[in-house]
Symmetry: C2
Subunit: 378 residues, 2 copies
């Protein structure tokens, strides 16, 4: 932790809390099929810019400036995304890139990172972050994170809950008492709920007592290891040889133990595996222009729109004529005429033209291409 950080953290809680460093853990395991044809098997969403200046993972790292040094940041990714992480995070120390032998969802990823960080700083605090989300108000986000770190140092599991702006059915929700609009209020996280149907989402929005689950969690190493041991004992038993190899600084043993562990462990998310049953969970309501950039239609949430809500990216002269809510992502000049709610994406070898409301169906295109043996297009 940097010196200025120590000053920032100089709150009244501080004397009663643990004093370890802050260790962001960025989860970059996504395969990003929903952004076909731009995203491909080896080029998932986190490595794309989605219209911004940086790739989503680079922007995720930029948002951690003044929160943690590069030496304290970790990225967890699969073998085939290793190169991408190195390219997009050139300042990341090689040993802080934790490579998973295979995808096993987020709980094993968190456990692996916790073991690494525990061996460096048993009093450390982890900020767990998805690599591929968008946040426009960095200052608001950092305010929330620092408030969350305080909570984590008191032993709480903290999460950021996004104040909803619409009755979204594509996100999970967190029930809370309501209020707390200053980006630093710590409130009780009463319950996690899965993606709701439209009618329920509308009730949630109207109630003012539900937040979107951002996937950002903040906890001490000590607390998360306690939870993992209690709630996912099998996973932790499988990972014990990995921890031993880390402590022994034995690289060969580490690789072998990791391969073996990941072969036998069950894939489970940290939300379901730990968070939903954890006590003393607090949420900080966040209003910072967050989006999970979950599908092509979401580009209008993370880019400037024109007066007809069109988002035109990639060529300065793109033209939307008599059109509304059109998203164009193409280096080639594109004219859209007389259409509403359409997404157009052009790459060198494939074009997608999709109703915005059908953006989730892009995965069906990939399925069809695989079925037809056209893997080079997926």
């Amino acid at each position: 932790m940097s010196d200025d950080m120590s000053d920032d953290m100089n709150s009244e809680h501080r004397s009663s809390t643990i004093q370890g460093g802050i260790f962001p853990v960025v989860m970059a395991g996504g395969s990003g099929t929903r952004f076909w044809p731009l995203s491909r098997q080896h080029l998932p969403k986190q490595f794309l810019s989605m219209g911004g200046e940086e790739s989503l993972i680079a922007a995720t790292m930029s948002r951690l400036t003044h929160i943690a040094e590069w030496a304290d940041r970790y990225v967890v990714a699969g073998e085939h995304h290793k190169e991408g992480v190195i390219t997009h995070c050139p300042s990341l120390p090689e040993s802080n890139l934790l490579v998973e032998p295979c995808a096993r969802n987020t709980a094993p990823c968190v456990a692996l990172a916790a073991h690494h960080i525990a061996s460096r700083d048993p009093q450390g605090v982890i900020i767990l972050l998805p690599a591929d989300h968008h946040i426009s108000d960095i200052s608001a986000f950092q305010t929330a994170l620092l408030s969350a770190v305080e909570g984590a140092r008191e032993g709480k599991i903290m999460t950021l809950g996004v104040i909803p702006t619409r009755a979204e059915t594509g996100y999970g929700y967190i029930k809370y008492p309501g209020g707390g609009l200053d980006n630093q209020s710590r409130l009780s996280a009463e319950r996690f709920v899965e993606k709701p149907p439209k009618r329920v989402a509308e009730e949630y929005l109207a109630s003012g007592q539900y937040l979107w689950n951002s996937g950002v969690f903040i906890f001490s190493v000590e607390r998360i290891l306690t939870e993992l041991n209690a709630q996912l004992p099998k996973l932790m038993t499988s990972l014990a040889p990995v921890r031993a190899a880390i402590e022994a600084l034995d690289e060969a043993a580490y690789t072998e133990a990791l391969d073996e562990a990941f072969m036998e462990i069950k894939g489970v998310s940290i939300d379901v595996g730990v968070m939903e049953s954890a006590d003393e969970l607090e949420v900080i309501p966040l209003r910072a222009g967050w989006s999970d950039v979950g599908h092509w239609g979401a580009l209008s949430e993370v880019n400037p729109v024109d007066e007809h809500h069109n988002v035109l990216i990639g060529h300065p002269e793109h033209l939307a004529l008599n059109s509304r809510e059109v998203t164009v992502y193409s280096d080639r000049f594109t004219a859209v005429v007389g259409l509403e709610g359409v997404v157009v994406v052009n790459t060198d070898d494939a074009t997608l033209v999709c109703a915005r409301e059908s953006a989730q169906d892009v995965r069906l295109v990939i399925e069809r291409l695989r079925h037809k043996g056209l893997k080079e297009l997926t």
Copy 2:
């Protein structure tokens, strides 16, 4: 005219008619802005295949097999389309490509061709054809043409009128007494009417007394020169030096006279300038799968459609998922998801995505591009 043709024409009318050859005149002056981005200023619609095996002009020529030899066929085109005509009609004698100094609509084009043909065969019959239409039933078309040639030899102005299959508002109509579904009935062409509004088009369709104006006319050289002299005397006066140069075989004088004439003459269509006021005009109702291929939406009229009325051209694996009435024209693999009535066209430097019903608005895109100084895209 070939020898087999003389046999074909051996009808009862023949003895009372003029005996000249048959001279098709193909008008290839179109600029084809409606097929942007595929058609460009130097690549108008007649040089495109529109999904077929040949370009539209090559197909127009193929439909004249057994009707007229190459030596008797003429093409009228602008200077900047000369190369295209030579490429797509390699068998056309060089002297049969009549180059207009500038576009002046169809009446001057017909007059110019009539002068050339009159100097070769004053008893000749002209078949005037647009270069860029589609006809699926060649045999039916040729039957109609030969019947029309008989009429032309009797001194009539003949036209082919397409039996309408829908209440189209994009075509002109010809009023006739009704009936005549055998592709060779010669019936009175009572009146030409301009593109009607929807309600009127519906009445026309229901009445069975209206045909679409195909733009195909058949007349003797003698008759058309008489009409032109009577109805467009100024035009003919301007062209007199051109005719003189043709007769004198004086190429330099011809070029000079043509440039001068086209500078001063007024652009007018043969329909408005001559046909609408001509007497003794007969129409042959045509049922031959005709389309003027007037805009992108018309591709479904001239290409095979799938069970959801999608037309997918250019890549064998194009995918239309949960989509209807989609037209794709692209060499690049294209997936269309969840859309209805959309046209997608991809070229190397531009993409068009357009509501099928807005296909006529493509010209607005070109206007906008010109206005922005992006002529290289037009």
